[in-house]
């Protein structure tokens, strides 16, 4: 077996270390960088291992893996994962970093290139709680990563920043003689410079490799853009803007109700899909509708647009009737009760509606019946007889949700009469297999009943004409356009607008006395009637397409109702209604990769979010950060903690707090004088560019993407502070002190800009920052005008207030406890017997209509499991005591203690104390 290596080649460091660690005998031959050892590869590839069979291995990771395997150490799955990550994520970044440092002499930029992978490694190490990557012992993954990172981590001049877990792990590797001696062989003690001749022969890594090709789908922080080149012209423009000063006249005047369209302004009417009243909304509902709309509405006001944001609860329909029967109340009582619940939840999430109404109002009946009559008059309603399921025992037709059966499309056994929860397809109730009355479980019979239909085929021409115009001039999300197109492609059919129900808007036609409007026809009219309850002059918004732009926000399942059905109702009424100009639909948000499910207690529901102790602003931030924009996304507790700690705390909060602290500590709380140099102007240009992007994206309602721009700015800011070290310069001579002043002044002004950009996302934090800085209110009105104007709003001499940290760390144990409390994993943890009992859907006799929190706690409690866990806790406790008595290694003890704490937590959960939000801290036996 022969191993070919070359000096100064960082990949060779890996294999030499692996040879030493594994102790495998092999003949090492040093060759020139350009030597072609592997016969079938046209480019030189080193290291290479010639196997006894005559085959060549040319991947350094495969060589290391092989060496470990022949020495009797198989690689685990976790090992595989690290090796794959090393090859796909770390190496491209490392290559770029080494090129910067060794060839281009830009060592200062290395930290930025590497921060993504290094942060990931740091997180994994600190989370894993083991001394090595895959456990208690050294594996091939440790050797490969250690050797890959050795050149950069051992060079202090690169200033990569403190990462405690990486440092501990790296130092552990350094103790190993084998790694050190491999490094000595390859780099010859010359450090990074030892690689110069090798690196110079490598093609310059194109920055496009790291660049995100589809900006709308990316995860903001994970796709770092490489440094943008800034031209001298951009720098001068940025400096000019900086000196402009604040607008004196206030653009965004305070709101005066009722808000009405104004001549010469951009008049925007915002609606968020009306949440259905009988459910507590979950996080997916919140991000899809009200939260997204709220961000856009706050942003629009900053832009000086004249906006009205209306929403309300959708209260009619069979689901409400069902719920009323379940809870032993009247439908009206149910609506009253849940309307308040909704209202409170949105208040907690700081959703700033101009008006939050409801659909069960007189105005609603009036407007709905008017639209009905107008459609009738113009001949867009047709009569037809339909076959319907009727339960003889209950003496009624079984509409929608009163019947359940097997889905004709996907055979899901619990499909509802109108739609299947599994495949999402719409169902005609008579097509259900083995239908059952939901009330009495009897099999219903098929009977005919007379209904009115909206003649969609007759309206199709008008609809298409309008759609062409609206989708080409407005901002429709891709999914909205696509769903609409597929509806039109399949051809429209007449659609029933009446139902045999009680709880709804009565059909005014004498031939259909006992019937009400079908919710799909009725509910969107709620937008109009809610506005009418807000102001008598509602028609200035709703019958004014010339002056008003209408934005509808919703999740994608709601698209056809807003793009096809509702516009048809309004077109058929021929009353100059305002139709949607911009249709913004999100994809779905999953919960820890499963669906939110009220019945299974899985997921976080609006009313529980505040019980977590996590501030509303942080919830908003994370939900917007994972907003399912362009593709489905998932809510994950671990990710939420990660994003809170890495983005809010370490990036954004850290920058803003530092900027303020420097002013307080070094300049007695007064913003120092600033003398802009090239470097500062360059930063202003970079920040200005990010601000422009932010505005361009938010104008197009790319809420998630523009959030990334905010985080980019604070990253630039952190780098700028790190590079200029004002805390050192302040101790120097006059020039140095002045430099410290400029850097501090520029930083605190960037922080002020950030507070404005944050306003739509985190209103409380945004205000807190400005309060801490005593920032003038006019900065809010200035910065987001036009294409974005980053001006110096805290000029020299301005006195700031008291600065304090904005965010708190989310601890691992805290987040684990929350994760358990809110389902997700817990159903998997439970013994299978229990699980089937639950999924069968028969509630335990005592449960009844329990409040949501009780349901969750109830599911957690499990006496059988508690017994097992008590035993396990006792055993683990014994083990820890033994270790301590033997004075075992500290790391080993810590690991066992962690296990013990975890067991105790599980026990608490199994005993039904799971909802206790206070995680235990401090030393425990």
């Amino acid at each position: 077996m022969k191993l070919f290596v070359s000096e100064g080649n960082p990949h060779c460091l890996k294999v030499l270390a692996a040879v030493e660690v594994s102790g495998v005998q092999c003949d090492v031959q040093y060759v020139n960088h350009e030597e072609r050892v592997v016969p079938f590869l046209s480019r030189p590839a080193l290291p290479a291992l010639l196997l006894p069979s005559g085959l060549h291995l040319f991947s350094s990771n495969a060589i290391c893996r092989y060496l470990f395997e022949v020495s009797g150490k198989d690689s685990s799955e976790l090992c595989n994962q690290w090796l794959e990550w090393e090859a796909t994520d770390l190496q491209p970044a490392l290559l770029q970093a080494l090129h910067l440092a060794v060839v281009q002499g830009k060592g200062s930029e290395v930290s930025k290139v590497l921060q993504g992978p290094l942060n990931y490694l740091e997180q994994s190490l600190s989370k894993g709680n083991t001394p090595y990557l895959t456990g208690e012992a050294v594996s091939v993954a440790d050797v490969v990563l250690w050797a890959a990172l050795y050149p950069v981590l051992s060079d202090a001049s690169l200033a990569l920043g403190e990462r405690a877990s990486i440092k501990a792990w790296f130092d552990r590797g350094a103790v190993m003689h084998s790694c050190q001696s491999a490094a000595q062989k390859v780099l010859q003690g010359k450090g990074l410079q030892g690689m110069k001749s090798y690196m110079q022969r490598q093609p310059a890594p194109s920055s496009s490799q790291c660049r995100d090709s589809q900006p709308c789908n990316g995860n903001p922080a994970e796709s770092e853009e490489s440094e943008r080149a800034v031209s001298a012209e951009e720098m001068e423009t940025a400096a000019l803007t900086w000196n402009k000063g604040l607008n004196t006249c206030s653009m965004a005047t305070s709101r005066q109700h009722p808000i009405l369209p104004q001549e010469g302004k951009r008049n925007i009417l915002l609606t968020s899909a009306l949440p259905y009243v009988n459910n507590v909304p979950h996080l997916g509902n919140i991000i899809g509708c009200v939260l997204s709309t709220d961000v856009f509405s706050r942003y629009g006001r900053l832009r000086g647009w004249n906006m009205l944001f209306v929403c309300g609860t959708d209260e009619y329909g069979t689901a409400t009737e069902n719920k009323a029967r379940e809870e032993g109340l009247t439908p009206q009582q149910i609506c009253d009760k849940y309307h308040v619940i909704h209202s409170d939840i949105y208040k907690w999430f700081q959703i700033d509606f101009d008006f939050f109404g409801r659909t069960t109002t007189e105005k609603h009946t009036e407007i709905a019946q008017n639209i009905f009559w107008r459609n009738h008059k113009h001949g867009y309603l047709v009569e037809d007889t339909v076959e319907q399921l009727r339960c003889e025992k209950c003496q009624r037709f079984l509409a929608d949700r009163f019947v359940e059966g097997i889905c004709p499309h996907c055979s899901y056994p619990e499909a509802r009469g109108d739609q299947c929860d599994k495949c999402g397809k719409l169902i005609n109730a008579v097509e259900l297999g083995e239908p059952q009355c939901k009330v009495c479980k009897e099999t219903p019979s098929i009977r005919s009943s007379k209904h009115l239909f909206l003649d969609l085929p007759k309206l199709e021409g008008q609809l298409e004409q309008w759609l062409d115009k609206s989708t080409s001039t407005g901002d429709w999300t891709a999914n909205a356009k696509q769903i609409t197109r597929s509806w039109l492609r399949d051809g429209l059919k007449p659609r029933s607008i009446t139902r045999d129900l009680r709880w709804g808007t009565p059909v005014p036609h004498p031939d259909f006395k006992e019937k009400v409007f079908y919710v799909w026809f009725d509910a969107p009219i709620g937008y109009l009637s809610i506005t009418a309850n807000y102001t008598d002059q509602w028609e200035k918004w709703w019958k004014n397409p010339q002056q008003v732009e209408l934005y509808n926000f919703m999740a994608k399942d709601n698209v056809p109702f807003h793009s096809v059905m509702f516009p048809c109702s309004l077109l058929g009424a021929q009353d100059n209604y305002t139709l949607v100009n911009h249709l913004i639909a999100t994809e779905y948000l999953n919960y820890e990769d499963t669906k939110f499910s009220k019945s299974r207690g899985v997921g976080v529901f609006g009313d529980m979010a505040k019980d977590t102790g996590i501030p509303s602003d942080v919830w908003r931030f994370y939900l917007l950060y994972v907003r399912p924009e362009g593709q489905d996304s998932a809510f994950s507790w671990a990710d939420m903690a990660l994003k809170n700690n890495s983005e809010l705390l370490n990036n954004l909060g850290n920058f803003i707090n530092r900027a303020g602290m420097f002013v307080t500590k070094f300049f007695e709380g007064c913003v120092p004088a600033m003398e802009l140099q090239q470097e500062d102007k360059r930063l202003l240009a970079l920040v200005g560019w990010e601000l422009q992007q932010y505005i361009q994206l938010l104008d197009k309602v790319k809420i998630r993407d523009s959030l990334r721009r905010i985080l980019n700015i604070s990253r630039h800011g952190n780098q700028y502070i790190q590079l200029n070290e004002p805390w050192k310069k302040i101790k120097g001579g006059d020039t140095e002190r002045q430099r410290a002043g400029t850097v501090t002044g520029v930083s605190v002004n960037i922080a002020c800009l950030l507070s404005v950009m944050l306003l739509p996302y985190m209103p409380t934090v945004s205000q807190t920052i400005r309060d801490q800085f005593n920032a003038p209110q006019s900065c809010v009105d200035t910065m987001l005008q036009g294409t974005g104007t980053f001006v110096c709003s805290l000029s020299a001499g301005h006195r700031i207030g008291t600065v304090s940290p904005l965010f708190q760390k989310l601890e691992v144990d805290q987040i684990e406890a929350l994760k358990k409390t809110f389902g997700g994993q817990q159903s998997d943890d439970e013994p299978p017997k229990k699980k089937t009992a639950q999924s069968a859907g028969s509630p335990p006799p005592a449960a009844g209509p329990a409040a949501a929190a009780e349901v969750v706690a109830g599911i957690g409690a499990d006496p059988e499991k508690a017994k097992q866990l008590t035993q396990a806790v006792a055993e683990q406790g014994e083990k820890v005591r033994e270790l301590k008595a033997q004075k075992a290694q500290k790391a080993a003890i810590t690991a066992e203690v962690a296990k013990l704490l975890d067991l105790k937590k599980q026990l608490a959960l199994a005993e039904g104390k799971g909802s206790d939000p206070a995680p235990q801290k401090g030393k425990k036996k």
Binding site: F40, L51, L57, Y66, E69, E77, E84, T88, S223, T594
Partner: protein, 173 residues
């Protein structure tokens, strides 16, 4: 894309219960949520895991040597084939053509996971080749044709005509 490959692999392996995957990052790296442990990340990692789960260890190679070769090509797949540019494809095809000169499968004489995932990864490159180019890389074409005809491998991808020296197209026999 990667998710479809994994589900094709599941079918090939005859795994009864399809797994749930998600993706992370811009490169849409597949993630497998694991009930009894942390999630697995990465195409090669998950694929190797599925093979173990299906108790078909031979698909990962039957010796230390071939296991290393299989992993090497899995890595090659995700680092070199994925996201390669037009210029890269020429060099890749040239190298592979030379490599496959004396081989039936990627790891010698035995069908392995390396064949499956190199096939999936190279499919989009082969689709764009002209007949002349396909003939230029005759060993790649032979291997490719062989793999796409292996029962149960192809699944989500359309069959491609890579070799011209047939009297009948595949439709007629």
């Amino acid at each position: 894309m990667a998710l479809r490959e994994l589900s094709s692999l599941e079918k090939y392996l005859g795994l009864k219960k399809p797994n749930k995957y998600s993706t992370q990052g811009d490169k849409k790296v597949p993630v497998l949520q694991n009930n009894n442990g942390p999630p697995l990340v990465g195409l090669g990692t998950i694929a190797s895991h599925l093979v173990k789960e299906a108790k078909r260890p031979n698909l990962l190679g039957d010796s230390a040597e071939s296991r290393a070769v299989v992993q090497q090509w899995l890595e090659y797949r995700v680092t070199k084939l994925d996201g390669c540019t037009k210029e890269d494809t020429k060099a890749i095809l040239k190298d592979l053509n030379l490599y496959l000169q004396d081989k039936v499968y990627m790891a010698g004489n035995q069908f392995t996971l390396a064949d499956t995932f190199m096939y999936f990864g190279i499919h989009p490159i082969i689709v764009d080749l002209s007949v002349q180019e396909k003939e230029q890389y005759v060993n790649v074409a032979r291997w490719f044709d062989h793999i796409q005809r292996c029962p149960g491998v192809r699944h989500h991808l359309p069959p491609l005509v890579v070799l011209r020296n047939r009297i009948y197209t595949s439709k007629h026999h």
